[in-house]
Amino acid sequence: MAATLKLEIFTPEAVAYRDDVEMVLIPAELGEMGVYPMHVPLMTRINPGELAVTKDGEVIYLAIGEGFAEITQTNVRVLVDMAIEERFIDEKAVEEAIERAQKDIREAMLGNQEVAATQVALMKSMAQLKVRRRRYTPAAK
């Protein structure tokens, strides 16, 4: 039995991930959902957060931004504005980005739309940090 799903993650910059996987955990709008092969066709909005991919028994974590997911029995397509694998996350840069965004919002120098855009950026940075912090403690391996 072909118990794999074809997972593809697209971002505006690139195809971030494309592989056959066993399971994928998606931060859907109505809560995290684990998707196995033969899932019922479904489309959902995605919140910024952590996406976990299980392949050959190993789990890979990605920080993802806002977007959409399309699930069919054999495929999962994720369209998000950001997708970074945990090991590529630059903690320091993210922290700086968060600080910058928070400062911008605090100082209220922005128009309405800009505030919204900054908040989105902030959410994305937070998601990255969350993924990074939770997994990469030097002690745990």
């Binding site: 505006p12 690139a14 109505l30 959902t44 909005r45």
Partner: protein
């Protein structure tokens, strides 16, 4: 032979100056081109998938009062809104000329324009068309910048002022080939992005995608899902088309400037040859004169 050597020298000098400028512009365009091309190509898969995602919603037709989301409704007649994506600067070959020729297809009475890029604006002003707004985007514009322009147009549609939004842009095929394209982005329909089908008149016809579509569960619910997906699709689509235009612009400019530099080189070669011929001729005459004079004296 009376042609003055000094005149020719002067001309060679001025052509050399021009060649230097075009050469420099070529270099600048080449580096910008690489970046713009990468951006345009990298964003294609996402745009394509986004179109695919819409398939289940666009495969049936909605008419005026039929159900569905307002952005899916095909309203008959009415006014058109055209987003004209041109370049800010000239010297990019026939790119803008080809693009602006397409403007003629739209009825002057019932079309309003939104410009991205100065060249289009200038043309429309000369042609006395209705221009609602102009958006200037820098070289490294972000999705957010494009969204502001797109939002403006979308509001016109949702407000019922226009019944269609069409984007007129230069589709990037490769460094040598760019073609003017027009695509209807609102009401939303699915079309393939990367695969270009060449229409005979140079404009690309939308290749509508038809496929078997399973029935989907939508979360959180259909209305909310469409409310976020459809505007995002329109914004991204417009953003993507501006990226394509940018890639086309820099490619066209690079090629145009390369041709100009090559031409200049050829002209310099021809002029130098001419110059040397005249110089040689005058030396020969001078020697002849001296020789004759000497023969007479001796």
């Amino acid at each position: 032979m009376a042609a003055n050597t000094r005149d020719i020298r002067r001309r060679i000098k001025s052509v050399k100056n021009t060649a230097q400028i075009t050469k420099a512009m070529q270099m600048v365009a080449a580096s910008k081109m690489r970046r713009a091309q990468m951006a345009a190509l990298a964003s294609r898969p996402y745009a394509q998938e986004l179109s695919r995602l819409l398939l289940p919603f666009t495969s049936f037709e909605f008419d005026e009062d039929g159900g569905g989301h307002p952005l899916l409704q095909k309203r008959k007649g009415g006014r058109d809104l055209v987003i004209l994506v041109s370049t800010d600067k000239g010297l990019c070959g026939a790119l803008n000329t080809n693009l602006l020729r397409e403007v003629g297809q739209f009825d002057p009475e019932n079309t309003e324009f939104v410009c991205v890029g100065k060249k289009g604006l200038q043309f429309l002003a000369r042609a006395k068309r209705t221009v609602l707004a102009e958006f200037q985007l820098k070289d490294n514009f972000s999705f957010f910048d494009a969204q502001v322009a797109a939002k403006f147009c979308l509001d016109r549609f949702l407000g019922g002022h226009v019944n269609r939004i069409t984007v007129l842009y230069s589709h990037y095929v490769n460094t040598l080939v760019q073609e003017p394209c027009k695509l209807v982005v609102v009401p939303v329909q699915s079309f393939e992005v990367g695969s270009v089908e060449l229409g005979r008149n140079g404009s690309r016809s939308d290749t509508e995608v038809k496929a078997e579509v399973p029935e989907y569960i939508l979360e959180p619910n259909q209305a909310d899902f469409l409310d976020s997906l459809l505007p995002h699709f329109v914004f991204y689509k417009i953003f993507h088309m501006i990226l394509e235009s940018r890639a086309s612009e820099h490619s066209a400019r690079m090629v145009a400037m390369k041709n100009a530099s090559d031409n200049a080189k050829q002209i310099i070669k021809d002029l130098t040859l001419e110059y040397n011929k005249i110089r040689q001729a005058s030396i020969t005459t001078e020697i002849l004169e001296i020789a004759t004079a000497q023969m007479i004296l001796s």
